[in-house]
């Protein structure tokens, strides 16, 4: 019998002839990365466990994407642990600046099609967009992986999500994944691999696929996978023939198949206080907003900024509204400046942060007062995450975010005069 994409990738890594969901296997991750929220704990755990070196130092990476810029009093101390890990344990790859982990991992070729990758962060599933089995773990787990080069995994069931047809006007990848999350709900994908396919998916850019894969963890999924195609090959700078195997078998077994017609999808939003509380744009249009956050690892790529800039160009944001923009990486930001897209956003009144986890992590910059309402293109709207537990947060596509920033309330992109 054939295998799903998740099974094929795991089989190859584990060196097994055949596996099935429920099997406990041992994998050797091809890449294991940590970022600066966890480097301190990771260092302590490695020492506590008695490791004096790393099994595969060439597979280890550290990103300082949460705490650089240093905004809270303890951040400088926490930033120093990356250097301890490099000097004492020999971590070979390091990015003190440069962008968000989940953008840099596929962008710089750390996360490759057909490989198994773990990172100390829940949104690691993002790299499934390029056919990489990628999932999040805690720092104790990562210390063990760094020390031994391996970890146990339960082979997940796979849910196939097939979307065919042409997306309507103003419906984007973000609307696809929010619709799916609304149907699966917060625990509907727990322990599962989600596999996306169909003509709509084929038509999506890699950026769109990254948006979708980024958010599968919001339904509890272990991985969110896409087969490798020409677009994957171009993005990853790899020959297609090397990664053509990264696709499910035609006779693979799926626990469930969900099908959608793209024409039936609409612009949607996650409404407070849950990611899976999905409503159509028409239901919440007109809601007053105080802050719009455009960017993050979910929707901080060039095409996201371009969509927003096309709407905002020549306009000013609403009086009293804050627009915070975070490109996902240096190269995204540099290209956006080269073609003038970032400048359009600045001219409209944007506050542009460096490419890092900025507003999305809710630690410091861009926090909300009691009655404020935020609209974000990122991936979480949990109670109290952005400051006051009385603030409300909606999630949406860059198009809705940009249009709403002009209107000062949640707006349909076609209803904002420009």
């Amino acid at each position: 019998m054939g295998h799903t994409l998740a099974e094929k990738i795991l089989m190859k890594n584990a060196g097994l002839a055949s596996i099935k969901p429920g099997d406990l296997i041992t994998v050797q991750p091809d890449c294991a990365a940590a970022h600066d929220i966890y480097t301190c704990k990771l260092y302590e755990k490695l020492k506590e466990m008695g490791f004096s070196k790393l099994k595969y130092p060439e597979r280890t990476i550290i990103f300082q994407d949460h705490l650089n810029p240093c905004c809270l009093p303890d951040d400088p101390r926490l930033e120093s642990y990356a250097f301890k890990l490099i000097d004492e344990f020999g971590v070979e790859h390091f990015h003190n600046t440069g962008g968000i982990t989940h953008q840099l991992m596929p962008e710089l070729g750390y996360a490759k099609p057909g490989e198994v990758v773990v990172v100390t962060d829940s949104h690691t599933t993002t790299y499934g967009a390029v056919g990489c089995f990628a999932t999040g773990v805690g720092y104790t787990e990562m210390a063990y992986v760094w020390g031994t080069g391996e970890m146990w995994l339960k082979v997940p069931e796979t849910i196939k999500i097939e979307i065919n047809g042409k997306l309507p006007d103003q419906v984007y990848a973000k609307d696809i994944v929010l619709r799916v999350l609304g149907d699966l709900r917060a625990a509907g994908g727990t322990y599962k691999a989600l596999e996306f396919c169909g003509t709509t998916i084929d038509e999506l850019s890699v950026a769109g696929r990254l948006t979708i894969a980024n958010m599968v963890v919001e339904c509890g999924a272990k991985a969110g996978l896409f087969a490798a195609d020409e677009k994957t090959a171009e993005f990853c700078k790899m020959p297609l023939q090397d990664i053509a195997w990264v696709k499910p078998d035609a006779d693979a077994h799926y626990e469930k198949v969900m099908t959608y017609r793209a024409e039936e999808l609409q612009p949607v939003l996650s409404c407070p206080p849950y990611v899976d509380n999905i409503k159509n744009l028409s239901e919440v249009e007109g809601t007053h907003i105080d802050q719009v956050c455009l960017g993050s690892c979910t929707n901080g790529r060039l095409e996201d900024l371009q969509i927003a800039a096309d709407i905002l160009r020549g306009h000013r944001i609403a009086k009293g509204l804050k627009l915070i923009v975070t490109p996902a990486s240096n190269s995204v930001m540099e290209e956006a400046m080269r073609i003038g897209v970032l400048q359009d956003l600045v001219a409209a009144g944007a506050i542009v942060t460096p490419p890092y986890c900025s507003f999305c992590q809710g630690r410091t910059m861009g926090l909300l007062a009691d009655d404020e309402v935020m609209l974000g293109t990122n991936n979480r709207n949990f109670l109290g995450r952005y400051g006051s537990p009385k603030a409300k947060v909606y999630l949406c596509s860059p198009a809705i975010a940009a249009a709403s920033a002009i209107a000062g309330k949640i707006a349909h992109p076609n209803n904002v005069k420009w």
Binding site: G320, V346, T364, L367
Partner: protein, 536 residues
């Protein structure tokens, strides 16, 4: 009585003035002359700051004053777009001195006085004394007006007091507007009543700019030779387009010294725009620098730790400004950027500390856990609903304190702020479905284990949280029926691999597989691996 041309409201003291004004008066003297330019803590870094900013915005909206948020440092905007020679502008922020570049007089007042000004448009001011400096000659191309300001402060501070108006007469080949803005802004450090350029005034002293040497404002002589961890180019007195251009030129095709954090904060969105288009920002990023938003400050976005050194081309060096126990050096832009490339100030440090690698002390033969009595315990229940995410369990804002006790005092805060104080070791949490969903932060599991939570019983768990909890030696038990039948405060007894007992009823629980049982029994992945690795 001075007639006031404009008032600037921009900071916390301005908000106090607004509050005082609003108590007594219903109408300001002239709303068109009151500039509300929010340039502090952009974007807000706490709910409280955001609420304060909203109150300032509300004042602007009520009286329909000119209003700006997060687009420019106030001094820059007023100097370039609004004031002219002879204008009197009242503010609560010394940044206003920058308008002296246009020959306008900026006066800083307290909240009560500002409230009066807002009402009447007049300022009562005692007589001023004047100190006038004539500037001539040409400054060394490697320096900027900061060295001039530092030198003036070093030599002429005795001549300047709180009633002094410090005046400059430009007899050089013509200083640019930005150079005058920089000089006036930097001279705020001298504590004068105001600083401005004037055309006709007899000079007290003449300064030949060619004689100016590089200057530093040091917290202590000991900073020379010390490693510098952070460099800041930005702010109202540091984020001019020329500063960013020079930074890019010095960084082209180079990389910052290891560990150095370089932050660049343009003083306005206009400067940001031009620096982006000219390619300066890209060059700085490629060298490893961060481009902060306009109006960003080190106290919010470029912090340093105890004993660390920040080199800045802005004027803020108040004690603990960028972090408690941190030291700030002020200098010109070129020196600051060169420091970012070297990693230290002045000369080479004599010794570079070596990394210390801890070695395992002794090999200890691990004792096997043989035939022990099965785990069983009793605890008081704290009850929760469905989808309790890790942002609720352990909010991001409180995630990274050095002390576990401090982190522990914030558990469950967004949903149940009173709970952290009440939880006792041995307590048991009961939840609905999907407990622990959301962010992978292991701290959520770790802090519950640290707080002494013995077990969590829920209808279902999110997967990363499940692994993290097991790895921290905390027992997670899936039990679909108990959560609906137990109340907060009840006592339950857990018998591993047998059942949960509550009010005489037994609830079936899943079998805990052998490897996970050993992990929990050992106290988590760390203790278990230590045994594996033969560590004490």
């Amino acid at each position: 009585m001075l007639k006031v041309n404009y008032a600037l409201l921009n900071n916390k003291i301005s908000l106090q003035a607004i509050d005082l004004f609003s108590v007594k008066v219903t109408k300001p003297w002239d709303a068109n002359k009151i500039y509300v330019i929010q340039d502090q803590v952009i974007p807000p870094n706490s709910p409280e700051v955001s609420a304060e900013q909203h109150r300032i915005a509300a004042f602007a909206k009520e009286y329909n004053t000119p209003y700006f948020y997060g687009s420019t440092m106030a001094g820059h905007y007023l100097t370039k777009e609004i004031v002219k020679a002879g204008d009197v502008v009242v503010a609560t922020d010394e940044d206003i001195f920058m308008i002296g570049a246009q020959g306008a007089l900026g006066i800083v007042v307290d909240a009560a006085t500002m409230a009066e000004v807002l009402a009447k448009g007049e300022l009562e001011m005692s007589a001023s004394n004047y100190f006038t400096i004539k500037l001539q000659g040409t400054l060394d191309a490697a320096l900027d007006m900061r060295s001039v300001a530092i030198t003036i402060a070093e030599i002429f501070q005795p001549q300047v007091n709180a009633k002094t108006i410090l005046q400059f007469v430009d007899c050089t080949e013509g200083l640019k507007l930005e150079e005058k803005m920089l000089l006036c802004g930097w001279c705020q450090r001298m504590g004068a009543r105001s600083v401005l350029f004037t055309e006709n005034a007899p000079e007290d002293v003449v300064i030949d700019l060619a004689e100016i040497e590089k200057g530093y404002v040091l917290p202590a002589a000991s900073t020379f030779g010390k490693d510098v961890i952070a460099v800041y180019i930005g702010g109202s007195q540091g984020g001019f387009l020329e500063d960013i251009k020079l930074t890019a030129e010095l960084l082209k095709n180079k990389k910052l010294a290891r560990k150095v954090r370089l932050s660049v904060a343009p003083a306005s969105s206009e400067i940001y725009y031009m620096a982006a288009t000219a390619g300066y920002l890209t060059t700085i990023m490629q060298a490893g620098g961060l481009i902060l938003n306009q109006c960003a400050q080190p106290s919010e976005q470029a912090r340093i730790g105890e004993g660390e050194v920040l080199v800045s081309n802005d004027i803020h060096n108040e004690p603990d400004y960028a972090g408690k126990g941190g030291e700030i050096v002020l200098t010109d832009t070129r020196t600051a950027v060169e420091t970012a490339l070297k990693g230290y100030l002045g000369f080479e440090p004599e010794t570079i500390p070596e990394s210390v690698v801890e070695k395992v002390k002794e090999k200890v033969v691990a004792k096997e856990d043989n035939a022990e009595a099965p785990m069983t315990f009793t605890g008081r229940v704290w009850k929760f609903g469905d989808d309790i995410d890790t942002d609720i369990i352990m909010p991001t804002q409180h995630l990274s304190y050095a002390s576990m006790d401090e982190i522990k005092s914030h558990i469950f805060e967004p949903l149940r702020p009173e709970l952290a104080k009440l939880v006792q070791p041995g307590d048991i949490i009961v939840g609905g479905s999907n407990f622990g969903c959301g962010s992978s932060r292991e701290q959520a599991a770790e802090i519950l284990a640290y707080a002494g939570i013995k077990a969590i019983v829920a209808k279902s768990f999110a997967r990363i949280f499940f692994r993290n909890s097991i790895n921290n030696g905390m027992l997670l038990i899936e039990c679909p029926e108990l959560p609906d039948e137990v109340a907060e405060g009840d006592v339950i007894t857990v018998n591993i691999n047998k059942c949960i007992e509550h009010k005489g009823k037994e609830y079936a629980i899943p079998y805990l597989s052998d490897n996970l049982y050993r992990l929990v029994r050992a106290g988590g992945l760390v203790k278990s691996t230590k045994k594996q690795n033969g560590v004490l």
